[in-house]
């Protein structure tokens, strides 16, 4: 048994993996109607309100009983989309090695987010390149060009060019809720500079679409365009006015007129581009199961003894379910529960610490939500190569071949059963010290 890890999501192919606005079904229709335009939003309100009005007019307050079946359908659709039709498959298993940018954080869906600055990039080098890139583009960043600084986002024009507070300046280039055009152009240029240095593009596939790693044409076409030649006279991102006015259709959102969509994320606190990885939780499942449980109670109660009975049954069912979850600590969070080992022994917990050099192994996907970035999701194995304290690690992935060799070793270790018996030389056993200790908990149970 290679792994005992419980995961929840599966990825899907292009066209099947869609954002919530395109999930289809009853829920998808409502969401789509609400998000497409103001007109469709109004139509959704009118139709929904009309239907509700007809139900209330016909059945009185017993119309509430119709919510049960509707809620079940909606919850099932959301659960199915969230776990099986949200993530775009790129590679079934892949490896990434890098430095933990910040301590993992918990997400609403119970996942634990872990961001990596990929090898061999280092924070201080990235910062230096970013400063160079900004200085090279000082003229572009100070000209009140409405294409670069649209008045709607930058009513006061370009922010003051002040590199003494690099973090503050990068923040000022991205003042809105969604990434600004100029911020994306600057970070795309930064990544282009970083990956242009020989030996630094070892894990470039996680920062930028690479046809060598995405051979399937349908998948390639589905992933948004994340890079195009710069529009400056040299078509070079390392030269002044490093930006691209490329506009095209985003196949995931099915929206035209979209600019370049970076496949990496940029950490504004630590000023580095990173690969986002997620250790899976299952909070959404719990929420949807809560809804289905309550809606079933409502429907049953309505059918047996009327609307009031349905409301009470729905509330009771929900309450029981929540109490049972509370009793068992079923919170959907990806954190480690307390564990009792059949054979007790030492196993101090491992925390993801900022600065740790780690290797993660899991599915390389693109999340169709959240701006469509590459991710490793779910993480299936976590290797610590160097802790912040020891800090002596020197990256060995100076070239793709070395990274490939390491990933092959990880894949072999993760996907191969441990045989019930092995034969080893006496020299090996003596090197072990004639004793072994338990490894990490990622193994499956052998057949009894």
């Amino acid at each position: 048994m290679p792994s005992n890890l419980q995961t929840f999501s599966t990825c899907a192919g292009p066209g099947t993996a869609v954002p919530h606005a395109r999930m289809g079904g009853l829920t998808g229709t409502v969401i789509s109607g609400w998000t497409t335009s103001d007109l469709s939003k109004a139509l959704t309100l009118i139709i929904g309100g009309g239907l509700l009005g007809i139900l209330v007019a016909t059945f009185g307050w017993a119309a509430i009983c119709f919510i049960g079946p509707l809620a079940i359908v909606v919850a099932v659709e959301i659960k199915d989309w969230y776990y099986h039709r949200r993530l775009l498959c790129i590679r079934d298993r892949d490896c990434a090695v890098g430095e933990v940018v910040a301590e993992p954080t918990a997400a609403t869906d119970g996942d634990r987010k872990l961001n990596l600055l990929l090898n061999p990039l280092r924070r201080e080098d990235v910062r230096s390149v970013l400063e160079d890139h900004l200085k090279t583009n000082q003229e572009m960043l100070t000209l009140p060009d409405p294409q670069v600084f649209p008045p709607a986002t930058f009513p006061a024009g370009p922010p003051a060019f002040d590199l003494s507070d690099l973090k503050g300046y990068m923040g000022s280039l991205d003042p809105g809720d969604s990434p600004s055009y100029v911020h994306d152009q600057i970070t795309i240029g930064l990544v282009d500079r970083l990956l242009s240095v020989p030996g630094q593009a070892t894990y470039g596939r996680f920062y930028r679409k690479d046809a060598a790693h995405i051979p399937d044409p349908a998948t390639w076409d589905y992933i948004p365009t994340d890079f195009a030649p710069a529009d400056n006279p040299t078509s070079d991102w390392s030269q002044p006015f490093a930006r691209s006015n490329w506009i095209g259709t985003n196949a995931v959102d099915q929206k035209g007129g979209q600019p370049l969509n970076p496949m990496f994320r940029f950490d504004s606190d630590h000023l580095v581009p990173y690969l986002h990885t997620e250790i899976e939780g299952h909070n959404i499942q719990i929420w949807m199961d809560d809804v289905i449980t309550a809606a079933t109670g409502l429907t049953l109660g309505c059918a047996l003894c009327g609307p009031l009975c349905g409301i009470i049954a729905g509330a009771l069912f929900w309450l029981f379910k929540k109490l049972l979850d509370w009793l068992t600590g079923n919170d959907g969070d990806a954190g480690e529960p307390d564990v009792d080992w059949a054979k007790p022994g030492e196993a101090s917990p491992v925390h993801g610490r900022s600065g740790d050099m780690v290797a993660v192994y899991g599915n390389w996907i693109m999340d169709t939500e959240h701006g469509q970035y590459f991710e490793i999701h779910p993480v299936r194995a976590y290797y610590v190569l160097s802790s912040t304290a020891s800090g002596e690690y020197q990256p060995s992935e100076k070239d793709a071949a070395e990274a490939q060799r390491r990933c092959s070793l990880i894949r072999e270790a993760e996907e191969t059963d441990r045989p019930p018996e092995i034969e080893k030389s006496e020299a090996a056993l003596l090197a072990w010290g004639l004793a072994t200790r338990y490894a990490g908990g990622g193994h499956g149970m052998p057949p009894s």
């Binding site: 109670g297 925390h351 490894a439 990490g440």
Partner: protein, 414 residues
């Protein structure tokens, strides 16, 4: 069509939940109250101190814990096993001819480039990634403290290597070593020390291995039958007080041809649940479930029924009780017993004396002091040409604690 099947299954699971919930809740609550009562019965305080970790650990099912290791004399001696300082995991070849591995490390020449290969093992069922390997040398002797890097960069800084080792496997890494120039006729002894470092090493006790070398101004350095070999070995007292030191001599080398069978030993980890929590976990649920990428990659302990709808699995439990499984290989007892029973006594006709006295008499040494102890080894008269005598000398404190050891490899001229 698939959606309706999932819808029906979800409703079915919800109906079962509805049926189970009140009963399960009542029983679980009853047991919970009982447990609370038992706890309060013997409690001195109603407000136990609690701690809350803001950053919960990485789930154990994801964490990989390696055990990089090397033939470590100290660890083996502590188990009462015979050892050699002719380390089976360190060997040397001339840089001019890397394929020709030296049969031993006792006949090296001065002012010469050598390649020192270090074999790093991994005793864990998890891969060891990024193991730092350091190779340093110190003047030969019993626990002489001054360690110098074997290889340095242009700035004079120590050069380390980083290796990856497969589960239960081994990897090689090579260091460059240039031996010192020596005056004619002089012999210099070195002890090479390889050490391994990894932040999640499950057993750091097996990380330091030593290899003795002799560097000669003029090769060879072989012995003849009946010859009395005179060797002075530095002995360092690591403590601050005067103490008695005794010596032991054995003849032992690692039998690399012998093989042993080990068996897998799984250690399942379950959620720390009381009876009421186990009962409360009986909540019929349709779990989102990725189809296995290879047959049987789900644990049989799930006791669940796979639904006909792909991507889902129906289970009577809300959460899996089995959280993680740790593994290792065991079966060392017969190996240890065999090694402890080995006859490692010196061959007939071979005598070893320290300062002209029998080894067991030993000597006394001032605190933090280093002295050169003169050993004489008499090669058996009947030793045939090409015979090799791996003599291991061990220095121990009066209480039996190891100070250090060296191996003298005496090869009879052919």
């Amino acid at each position: 069509m698939d959606f309706f099947r999932i819808l029906i299954l979800e409703v079915w699971a919800a109906l079962l939940r509805a049926l189970f919930l009140p009963v399960v809740f009542l029983v679980a609550t009853l047991f919970r109250l009982l447990r609370l009562l038992v706890r309060l019965w013997g409690a001195r305080s109603f407000y136990p101190e609690e701690s809350d970790d803001g950053c919960p650990p990485i789930p154990e099912a994801l964490v990989r814990r390696p055990d990089p290791c090397i033939y470590s004399q100290k660890l083996l001696l502590e188990q009462g096993l015979p050892v050699t300082w002719n380390n089976p995991d360190i060997w040397i070849a001339a840089a001019a001819d890397p394929a020709a591995v030296m049969p031993d490390s006792y006949h090296l020449t001065e002012d010469t480039d050598y390649l020192v290969t270090v074999r790093v093992h991994n005793a864990s069922t998890d891969a060891a990634l990024g193991v730092r390997v350091r190779l340093r040398h110190r003047s030969w002797g019993f626990n002489v403290p001054d360690l110098q890097p074997v290889e340095t960069d242009g700035a004079g800084q120590e050069v380390s290597r980083f290796v990856d080792v497969a589960p239960m496997g081994s990897s090689l890494t090579v260091f460059h070593w240039h031996t010192d120039a020596l005056p004619p006729g002089e012999v210099k002894h070195y002890c090479l020390q390889a050490s391994l470092e990894h932040p999640l090493d499950v057993n750091p006790a097996n990380n330091v291995g030593q290899e003795n070398t002799n560097v000669y101004a003029a090769n060879p350095g072989h012995v003849t039958p009946g010859e009395v070999v005179d060797v002075t070995i530095p002995l360092f007292n690591p403590d601050r007080f005067r103490q008695a030191v005794r010596f032991e001599a054995t003849m032992y080398r690692v039998d690399d041809a012998r093989r042993h069978v080990l068996r897998l030993d799984p250690n399942p980890g379950y959620r720390r649940w009381h009876l009421d929590e186990r009962i409360a976990n009986i909540v019929p649920t349709l779990h989102p479930h990725p189809p296995p990428t290879k047959p049987g990659d789900e644990g049989p302990s799930m006791r669940s029924v796979r639904s006909s709808a792909s991507g889902y699995r129906f289970s009577l439990r809300a959460q899996r009780p089995l959280v993680a499984v740790r593994t290792r290989y065991v079966g060392f007892v017969p190996v240890r017993e065999r090694l402890r029973g080995l006859d490692v006594a010196l061959p007939g006709g071979m005598q070893v004396r320290a300062e002209g006295r029998p080894l067991e008499e030993g000597l006394e040494l001032e605190g933090r002091d280093t002295v050169g102890v003169r050993f004489t080894l008499t090669v058996p008269v009947g030793a045939g040409p090409g015979a090799v005598f791996p003599i291991n000398l061990v220095a121990k404190k009066a209480n039996g604690v190891l100070i250090g050891g060296v191996t003298l490899l005496l090869r009879v001229k052919e």
